[in-house]
């Protein structure tokens, strides 16, 4: 029986149409995945079924159990939201109110929609938390969101969404903000709850692994248009639309070269300790400490990629910053045989030229008020101050062409633009150019593709592999994405709670065994 029917839905903001004649249906108890890259309109489409966009102009028809949602008055709409259709969002930390306890937030919906009194609502809230497998629900009901872990927060969000027994759950990237090991647990939980209550789920995601694991049917969106839909098996095995094919092929391929001999980077018993405030009056006199990295030891050969993987909080980024001497660390870290600790300020500056970095978020890693020429040319101004303006500019242009920014036209046209004029993938290329322009031997890649769309991810990884072969670069690749490590790394360090728990060649370490250890079952 059809639960939700969306017909020729158009959504416009101002004069701009972001969703163009999208039609799909969802049956009771069905799992539909709405797939697309960022900006494809998938979230807007899903939230339009609840009319959650105030500024949007909606055309077409949305029918929920035969009733036209677009024609509903405010009272009906409020009864629909939360009670019959519930939403869970990507980032539970911002979707939950930080100054209300989790229990109070669940109770609010119960009191509003079901007219329960406080005691009854509290009972039900505890029961709801128990159903989503939050440990110690009687205690957790009085916790504030920041006192819960990421996975528990997402579970609390689900408990809140399902408290009123909705018939349809819209899940907007429900696992994107979570660690890999927890993602599949949340997915399993959703599946269990769905079977219990005959719940229909509209899942919005860009992660095809999740789709493969979870969905019955798939709808693919590109730039506001629904380009293909069908059963999961059908779409995944025989995609018709070229865009779908591209999405499915975006799994990265391994095209790395063989590493050379020698050692460009060495770490022995690297230890990173952060001071943390102690509670109470003792905190006035002494600081506690938190050990983020505990005794990591490794070497890196020219042309080699060392993957550093682990969950968030495992210390992998602290380790990367320590390698760059951006974070105080004890132990021995030597670039090209020279240790940071043995050098004075001038010597460190010179050594920095050999080890560069590319960060995760290309939006925050480029100075917003400098032009591309200033950003990329900065390293040259520091390390080769003897260059004339023209020489510097030609080196900048060469670096931009090196990272493939000259393909759409002459790179010279890019010099005077600002970072905000570029897309995410282009910005990441600029960040790579900034690192490469000083001709380093080592580049630290801190989650270089995590904030990019899947198709762009593949391009950036290909570029990085090319650059490695061309210049004999060594990479330290910090990531939580197993696919990226598999495609890029020669050797892998696995970190957990600050310790290196496993180390070795990529195909040995990324075995069946590791998945269990990290708590993530083998994907698809």
């Amino acid at each position: 029986m059809t639960l939700l029917q969306v017909q020729d839905l158009c959504v416009s903001f101002g004069g701009r149409r972001v969703v163009d004649r999208v039609s799909f249906t969802l049956d009771r108890g069905e799992k539909l995945a709405l797939v697309g890259e960022s900006g494809s309109g998938k979230t807007v489409t899903a939230l339009a079924t609840l009319r959650l966009h105030d500024a949007a102009r909606l055309q077409g028809a949305v029918r929920f159990q035969g009733r036209d949602v677009l024609a509903m008055g405010p009272a009906d709409l409020q009864a629909l939201r939360g009670n019959e259709i519930a939403v869970i969002f990507q980032e539970p930390m911002t979707a939950l109110n930080p100054v209300m306890t989790v229990g109070a937030q669940i109770m609010e919906a119960l009191q509003l929609h079901k007219g329960l009194n406080r005691a009854q609502a509290r009972e039900q809230a505890i029961a709801a938390l128990r159903r989503v497998e939050v440990p110690e629900p009687e205690r957790r009901v009085d916790s504030y969101p920041h006192q819960l872990s990421g996975g528990q927060r997402q579970r609390a969000m689900i408990a809140m969404a399902l408290a009123c027994d909705p018939k349809l759950l819209i899940a907007d990237e429900p696992t994107t903000a979570l660690d890999v090991s927890i993602r599949y647990q949340i997915l399993d939980l959703l599946e269990k709850l769905r079977q219990e209550r005959d719940l229909a789920v509209l899942m919005i995601t860009h992660d095809l692994n999740l789709v493969r694991r979870f969905a019955d049917r798939v709808a693919v969106m590109e730039r506001g248009v629904l380009v293909e839909q069908g059963t999961m098996a059908q779409v995944m095995s025989a995609p018709v639309h070229p865009y779908t094919r591209k999405l499915i092929d975006s799994r990265c391929e391994r095209e790395v070269g063989e590493p050379g001999q020698g050692c460009v980077l060495e770490g022995r018993s690297v230890r990173v300790v952060y001071p943390v405030p102690r509670p109470g009056i003792r905190g006035w006199f002494a600081k506690g400490s938190f050990t983020a990295v505990q005794g990591a030891t490794f070497t890196l050969a020219p042309g080699e990629t060392l993957g550093v993987i682990g969950e968030s909080g495992s210390g992998k980024t602290s380790l990367a910053l320590a390698l760059l001497d951006l974070q105080k660390a004890s132990g021995h870290i030597a670039v090209d045989g020279r240790a940071w600790v043995d050098l004075d300020a001038g010597g460190r500056r010179q050594l920095r030229r050999h080890i560069q970095v590319v960060f995760q978020d290309p939006f925050s890693s480029l100075s917003p008020r400098l032009t591309v020429e200033q950003i990329v040319g900065e390293g040259l101004a520091i390390h080769e101050p003897g260059l004339t303006r023209l020489q510097r500019r030609s080196r900048v242009l060469a670096a931009l062409e090196d990272v493939g920014l000259g393909e759409d036209g002459p790179a010279g046209a890019l010099l005077h633009r600002y970072p905000h004029e570029f897309s995410g993938g282009q910005r990441q290329r600029i960040a790579i150019a900034r690192a490469l322009v000083v001709q380093p031997r080592i580049v630290v890649l801190d989650e270089p593709t995590s904030s990019l769309d899947v198709t762009i991810q593949k391009q950036v990884l290909q570029l990085l592999a090319q650059l490695q072969r061309r210049h004999g670069l060594s990479y330290v690749l910090v990531t939580h994405d197993m696919d990226v490590v598999r495609a890029m790394a020669h050797r892998v360090l696995v970190m957990k709670d600050g310790r290196v728990v496993r180390e070795g060649a990529v195909d040995q370490v990324l075995s069946e065994h590791l998945w269990e250890e990290l708590g993530e079952p083998q994907a698809g």
């Binding site: 951006l326 480029l366 100075s367 390293g379 282009q426």
Partner: protein, 352 residues
């Protein structure tokens, strides 16, 4: 490449300026304010008791810059000429002689001895807005007083902004103990009773506009510093700062070239409001008699006169109008600047 094509656009400051000029009220207010300031800078040419140019007995004189004894024009005394004296006027009006007077014939310090009504005199053809209780022309006093207020406000704002930015930048960038120590100092400093100190200082030193500027600036930079500190604390952990450090860039360059341009939004937004605050502070100190030395044209002193001569409505009304107009203009400009620099509006514009 499947990425959308690059759209050519202007730099962030240019776009903010375009948003500002797009706000008609704020942009007009700025134009009017700048025009008034420009006019007041030429106050000596517009309102003075000396002619700009004189031709007398075949000789050319520029009394504006020359001190001419009365004997030059056939008078009896060796004292500087009083050009408002009917006797001199008559001499200058003789055929062959010529005098170009400014539009308003009074300097702020000129006392109109030739008025037929007791001071304060109501508006008349000679004194367009009347005179104050010492017989000085109100138009001249207001014009020079406005100029002094605006220049004073500019000075205070410049000193406070530079000092505050520098202080906040060092605090926020180095964080840790540097931050804590400097923050404690700010807390102690801002707890000082400014008004008492001003009263004490005015007892020790002879009052002067420079002393006032120094005192008000010394207690006025903390607001800017707090904003800049917060912005620096936020920006110092962003990846573009880390990337610059990884390149080996010096702290000084990172502070001024990388972080500072991204922290200027609150600073620039504050400037008009700070100017309004400085004008208000100067006016109130003058009103209380703790401000500028006796005789200096000042809006606060005029307000005090207005209070003392309630029947001379023209004093309070004219001063009040000038003061309110100035503050309203500044606040309109500040409002428009705040809108233009609002990061949310900038983002909305960036969305394709």
């Amino acid at each position: 490449m499947t990425e959308p094509p690059v759209r050519p656009r202007q730099g962030p400051w240019r776009r903010a300026w375009r948003r500002f000029t797009g706000n008609r009220l704020g942009w007009r207010a700025l134009q009017v304010f700048l025009a008034l300031t420009l006019v007041s800078l030429f106050a000596e040419v517009l309102s003075n008791d000396k002619p700009l140019l004189v031709r007398y007995d075949g000789h050319w004189y520029v009394p504006l810059v020359q001190t001419l004894p009365e004997t030059t024009f056939g008078g009896d005394f060796h004292t500087p000429t009083d050009f408002l004296d009917p006797y001199i006027r008559a001499k200058l009006a003789k055929p062959g002689n010529f005098a170009l007077f400014p539009p308003n014939h009074y300097h702020y310090s000129t006392i109109n001895y030739y008025s037929r009504v007791p001071d304060p005199a109501p508006p008349s053809r000679q004194n367009w807005l009347g005179t104050d209780d010492r017989g000085r022309d109100l138009v001249a006093r207001l014009l020079y007083g406005f100029r002094l207020s605006v220049l004073f406000a500019l000075g205070v704002t410049a000193v406070c902004t530079l000092g505050g930015v520098l202080y906040g930048a060092i605090q926020g960038y180095f964080a840790g103990w540097t931050d804590i120590t400097m923050e404690r100092f700010v807390e102690i400093w801002s707890a000082m009773p400014t008004l008492y100190l001003l009263i004490i200082f005015s007892a020790f030193f002879s009052p002067s506009i420079w002393l006032l500027l120094a005192l008000i600036s010394v207690f006025g930079w903390m607001g800017v510093a707090a904003y800049v500190r917060a912005e620096f604390l936020k920006n110092r952990t962003l990846d573009y700062v880390r990337a610059a450090k990884a390149l080996g860039q010096r702290d000084r360059v990172i502070i001024f070239r990388h972080i500072l341009p991204n922290c200027l939004t609150p600073v620039i937004t504050l400037v008009p409001f700070e100017m309004a605050g400085a004008i208000g502070a100067l006016t109130s100190l003058d009103f209380l008699g703790l401000g500028v030395p006796e005789g200096t044209p000042s809006l606060g002193e005029l307000l005090a006169q207005g209070k003392n001569n309630l029947d001379a409505w023209w004093i309070s009304l004219a001063t009040f109008t000038v003061l309110v107009a100035t503050l309203v203009l500044l606040i309109l400009v500040g409002d428009a600047l705040r809108d233009a620099l609002d990061p949310r509006k900038a983002l909305a514009e960036e969305a394709p």
